[in-house]
Subunit: 230 residues, 4 copies
DNA sequence: AATGAATGAGGGTTCATTCAT
DNA sequence: AATGAATGAACCCTCATTCAT
């Protein structure tokens, strides 16, 4: 009986349509200024139907965010898959994350949400769980990469791969946020190009993680960052 | 005429009273859940009066935040003043920032506000300017410290002090945010102590910015971080 | 053809299942706070099916109420059947009605519904008719009892049995409602036990209905109420 | 300084205006079907202003109801004041209550509200208190009347004035409710005039509470009820 | 007969802000 | 300068009912 399957498929499709509409609205207005009315209108559905598929506005927001994390995860998988070594992969991850930031700035903005302690409460535990599961997957990717590098001898044996991942990712993220908000200001007032700082920071960090041997052979790679200097 | 001066003084005092009330309310409820009604009540003033002194709720929020930045700045001045060398000062800054984070968590939470792009629009340019001025002062402190270190030969000559400040501060900040939100989760799921990561991250970046000579002589200082390992 | 009969039987059974679910939900939440969703879930049926059997939520509510009236009717039949004389039966009816009130408080609450003029409109005429038919049956029981008493000479010849029934039942009902809502308040503020008032009221009324002869012989019965005085 | 007083007066006036509007809407639609929008519109005020004066729709409803109780109370005071003796006054109270029922049917309908257990929760304790205070005052009037009658020897010494008040008032009320809802039905199906029943019921209860002496002298008064028979 | 997805019209309440006094 | 009454625009979510399948 394909009837049940078709129903399922249609339902899933409906979920996607709602998500598309929500994404468009959230991108344009942000969480607070978006209304369920507008999302419903964009989805060409009634407001009530929205609540048939998602428990609250916040849940819907998180569902869109998960899409962003999916995208990010895919990107990470691709980058790691097409990179030769852990160090190279790590460096490329930094580059790709910047591309993600530029290309999917809206998703990047949504990620802020997870930092706002006030809003955590309004989200259903299930959705929160789904979101965490997704980010965990990506964290694991990076952590495993560090682990592999350590085993292969390109990263120092005395580093903890989880800690390294946290430090790398956090510092990268933090600088991107600054770029997002204050890029102009730093350029004008202090003549500093934050984008360059982003890459320098990544390079600096990677260098300090690497063993001496690895450092020698990958010097050329990391010197990329220098060539970006005007 | 002392009359005008007295008026001025009273006015300033009134501004402070309002700020005290606003701070108490914002600390307890966050920006969204705070109401001008509650602030007015706590200030024992009418709601209308609030608007004579501050243009909007967001402005008021920013004004409180500036207090936090003041506090942070003072702390930085103290730390730098009482530290022997740039490297030592830098390390102590990291420690003090953590203390600030623990002691003034409410102010730290407010700082999130500056990262939310949506809300930037709701703030008056004047207040934003005042806020930036305050943070600039603190940035300058750190930048100058790097500059001094470079001149003294403890920091590498090839680093840009501004960039170094951005990298160090951003990564520190980012990890503290993670501690704030996800400390338990990382502990339970991956057995990682994010507080330790915070200090390791600071140490790591400092090390990689130091000259070899400095590294040797300050090794003992940075090894503090190791002693925290259980 | 047993087929048609079986279908009929199944249909009736389904109606009962729905009624069971509705009763449980209405008892727990009252009319307003009950939702067809919850009833459908409890009945393990779809919401649409509910509407195949009952025209509206209010109709369903009335159908449950009819069950309560059934119960009440049965009780009346039993009491009258097991009582010796009209006066005794009348007195016992009062006692049993109080028991019903205590034991089936939820049904008693539902009966309020019939008093709310606003809600009358939302009920289908058919269901209203069914409900009235049920209450009429019980009314007839009481009226006939009065009639019998008059014929037997225990109740005064100059009373109208219908009027007597209305007065007795209404006053009893009204005091029970007061017990339901304000029992504590009367106890605390005026030290009056409304339950006692209920029985006194019944006794008072019956006395005034009886002929002198009957009054003499039944004095002992009605004096029950006095023994409840502390 | 009359300025403050004038403000107070205007505020009180505003409360009245809101009450007028609310009364009109509640009378027309009942509690559930009335909307704050409509009340605001009728009051020519913004919806927000309504909430400046009354905490909720239910509070507003209760405030209107208190007006009804006021009216009823006044009526009772008048009737008692202009009646010769407690028995006469009691009888006249019954007559006046019927007039109230006819003239202020809408208020009478509102009184149902107090019987609905579900809705009690939605009302602010203050307003509930005000409402109870008002009804208590009226109860006291009736209770005192019985007390006086007992002292004067027209009511039996063995009756409790409070109980008597409850019995009389409750039964009267209950029959009026029946008149409100089912007057036609009883007329058509059983040829019973419920209005007559109402007066007979009052007469009956009064008689049974009177002393023999009083009964003799007031026979003519109570025989009024007979003259109403067609 | 049964489903259950879709509807869509609300509806009470909140609050930042204004402005006459 | 200070008040505080008034505003009014928003907004999320509910739920009885319908109807195509």
């Amino acid at each position: 009986m394909g009837i049940h399957e078709r129903k399922e498929r249609e339902k899933e499709q409906r979920r996607e349509e709602i998500l598309n509409a929500a994404q468009a609205v959230f991108f344009e207005r942000g969480l607070q200024n978006s209304t369920m009315d507008e999302i419903a209108e964009k989805a060409e559905l009634s407001k009530g139907t929205l609540y048939l598929y998602y428990g609250s506005k916040e849940d819907l927001y998180l569902a869109v965010m998960v899409r962003g994390f999916d995208l990010l995860h895919e990107m990470c998988v691709d980058v790691i898959g097409s990179s030769g070594s852990p160090v190279e992969a790590m460096w490329n991850l930094g580059k790709s994350y910047y591309e993600f930031f530029e290309k999917h700035r809206n998703f990047f903005h949504m990620f802020y949400f997870l930092q706002s302690p006030t809003l955590h409460k309004q989200v259903s535990p299930d959705m929160m769980e789904a979101c965490n599961a997704q980010t965990n997957k990506t964290w694991k990717l990076v952590i495993d990469l560090f682990q592999r590098g350590i085993e292969e001898g390109t990263f120092r044996k005395d580093i903890n791969p989880i800690e390294a991942a946290v430090i790398l990712w956090s510092s990268a993220n933090s600088i991107l946020i600054r770029i997002d908000n204050e890029c102009e200001r730093w350029k004008e007032q202090l003549n500093v190009d934050l984008v360059q700082v982003y890459f320098r920071s990544n390079a600096l960090f990677l260098e300090s993680m690497m063993t001496k041997d690895a450092y020698t052979s990958y010097a050329s790679l990391l010197s990329e960052v220098q060539t970006q200097t005007p």
